[in-house]
Amino acid sequence: MAGVFTPWWRNRRLLPWIVQAAVGLLLLVLVAFLVGNLVRNLTAAGLLLSWSWLGNPAGFDISETLLPFDASLPYWRALLAGLVNTLRVVLVGLVGATLLGTLVGTASFSSNALLKRLARIYVELIRNIPLLLQLVFWYFVVFLALPNGTAAIQLPGVVLAKSGLFLGAPELVNGVWQSPLKITVEFGALLTGLVVYTAAFIAEVVRGGVASVPQGQWEAAGSLGFSPLQTLRRIVLPQALRVIVPGLNSQYISLAKNSSLAVACGYTDLYSVAETSLNQSGRAVEVVLILLGAYLVIDLLISAVMNGLNGLVQLRER
């Protein structure tokens, strides 16, 4: 190689390493700077990372919980109750949004022009209005405007009042509805908002999936004597699901993340409990770490389940 001199900026073998070293150094300096400040500032404030405060009594109450909880229980129990509340709304929301979304998505293939148009309008209307606005609308305008007492909406076995949705033989005791199974308006508003919003996106996923099945499949099934409903169930859906399931995955994850807006309609989910815990204890870094970790785990769980489902519906070749 004598006599051939390659300047370093043209050296194809060296350059990648130089670039990476520069980027790595920059990142390292940035991280060191941030962490250094963090440690210095936290030490100055006397808030250096510690988890023992989680055992202290929380001192605040949670309005609705599945786990028994009161103010004398420790912080970690409060956060756990919040997590369970989040999981509850996410699980019910997933089912509801899938049902409504599939309904709207298939309605856009209806032979009825009005129904088809309505499905489009629903999607365009919901997708262009912020979810938070929809949540406060459901809570303040719809659910909190419900009548109470004898004026409440009564159906056989179900009563919908300002104080909540009562299921299973509700009865009026001293002007207050009571029943074995009660759903609060906060939960109802959050659930309705999440389901209506996510369903619009799921409807688009379903529509895209069904549209990806060639028209010839419908025609072939029809000429073999399948009814439209049979065609959908036996021929089209199994093929459409291959496109739908990956799309559903991201919608489910965004539903789980969106459930953190619960604080807007007074439902005490994980985020809401964490916010109160931070205000009470001042432990900002730990609370944020718990929040980020919890949502990451929920996302990963949903992804794992959906990937399993995806393996089931994908084409298996011998």
């Binding site: 670039v19 963090l38 009005l114 209005i129 993340k257 807007a264 985020y271 980020l292 949502y295 996302d299």
Partner: protein, 411 residues
């Protein structure tokens, strides 16, 4: 042309209606139920909007909704900015029409433009009146709309006469205007400072979203390129960042920005609460834009980059001139979709105590005078957001057609 009556191959409106709504017995039943339901809903809404709703909450607080607590004696700066924006819009619009992608301009006012003008005129006359603004302020809106249309007409009429060199400079008025707007809004350069805590309402919403949109786009492109880079450090760094951001709900990141950013920076260096939120929004959106751009990048065949490299183009130039133009065109709809989401996500600022549109609405409704006027306020906000988002979507579709090399010139 001879007076031969056209063959009626297309079914008439009545027939189409019958076939669409009453093709079979079930269809007919569904249609009747739906029509009844829609009529009832429309009647109920109209009855409520006309007789029960008290729109005074909107007109009495229109300034608050528009600019928040921006000082009254400094509001001329915002009027000036609006006027400049109207002029720039008219100019760009006219020039776009004067220079279609292919061929000479078809007409000065295509059909879509006539619709847009009609909507603008109706808005300029009806909206200030509905808000019961004072007559001088109503007249300001008429003047601004008039200026916009005048600029549009002049640019469309004489746009061809502008020499090519200065025509290339026209898109530059937008970044320039953005900087001018920032100065006008926040003060400095001889203007009185207006602190970010005094910005509010629509002004804050638009400012936050435009700031985040402008900055998240280059960041997102860099992240997407990093994720597809051959250098492991760049690739894994980008992947880690994108997946971390996409795994967390925005509200927890805003929460992080408000509560932890102060600890991460040396004392006194942490920005104001409004700017913290703006930066969090930017970094949040960048991860999603990166994913949109990545899908565009993977649509460009690998041969394109290889061909450019073998012609001797250095990697940065090959990316800028060959790969990115093709990738961004493919990624455009998804990217604009992210921008629309970003605009909607600015409502989350109200949850961390900033006075964006929704935050302003909450303070207005906490006022005892307007207690319980939730429906009116939320409905107006919903219409406002819907229009903004739908307009962005329409703009994206128009841009997509204009950038498509195979597109036919529009009539």
């Amino acid at each position: 042309m001879d007076a031969v009556p056209p063959l009626r191959l297309r079914p008439g409106a009545w027939q189409r209606l019958r076939r669409g709504l009453f093709a079979s017995r079930v269809d007919g039943l569904i249609s009747i139920v739906l029509i009844g339901f829609l009529l009832a809903a429309a009647l109920g809404l109209a009855k409520w909007a006309l007789f029960q709703a008290q729109w005074a909450v909107i007109s009495a607080n229109s300034t608050l909704f528009a600019v928040g607590r921006y000082p009254l004696e400094q509001q001329w700066r915002l009027w000036l900015l609006t006027t400049l924006l109207a002029l720039a819009t008219g100019l760009s619009w006219g020039l776009l029409r004067a220079f279609p992608r292919s061929g000479p301009p078809v007409t000065l006012w295509p059909r879509n433009d006539r619709w847009a003008v009609a909507i603008l005129v109706v808005l300029a006359i009806w909206r200030p009146m509905a808000l019961q603004l004072a007559l001088p302020i109503q007249m300001r809106w008429w003047a601004i709309t008039g200026l916009l249309l005048l600029a549009r007409w002049a640019a469309g009429r004489w746009g061809q006469a502008i020499p090519q060199v200065s025509r290339r400079l026209v898109p530059l008025i937008w970044p320039l205007l953005y900087l001018v707007g920032m100065v006008l809004i926040s003060g400095g350069l001889g203007l009185v400072q207006v602190a970010p805590s005094e910005w509010g309402g629509l002004l804050l919403t638009l400012l936050m979203s435009s700031f985040a949109i402008l900055l998240c786009f280059p960041l997102g492109v860099l992240l997407a390129l990093g994720r597809r880079s051959e250098l492991p450090l760049l690739r894994w760094g980008s992947v880690l960042y994108i997946e971390f951001i996409r795994g967390a709900p925005l509200i927890t990141l805003l929460f992080l920005g408000q509560n932890i950013l102060g600890f991460l920076l040396p004392g006194g260096m942490a920005p104001d609460r409004v700017w913290r939120a703006a930066w969090v929004l930017t970094f949040f959106a960048a991860a999603y834009v990166a994913e949109a751009v990545r899908s565009g990048l993977s649509a460009v065949p690998a041969g394109q980059l290889e061909a450019a490299r073998s012609l001797g183009l250095p990697l940065p130039l090959a990316l800028i001139h060959v790969v990115l133009p093709q990738a961004l065109r493919v990624a455009l709809p998804a990217t604009v979709g992210q921008f629309i989401t970003l605009l909607q996500d600015t409502t989350l600022l109200s949850l961390i105590g900033l006075l964006d549109l929704l935050g302003t609405a909450r303070t207005v409704m906490a006022n005892p005078e307007f207690l319980g006027k939730n429906a009116e306020v939320y409905l107006v906000l919903a219409v406002l957001f819907w229009c903004c988002c739908a307009a962005l979507g329409l703009g994206s579709r128009a841009l997509e057609i204009r950038l498509n090399p195979q597109a036919q010139p529009s009539r």
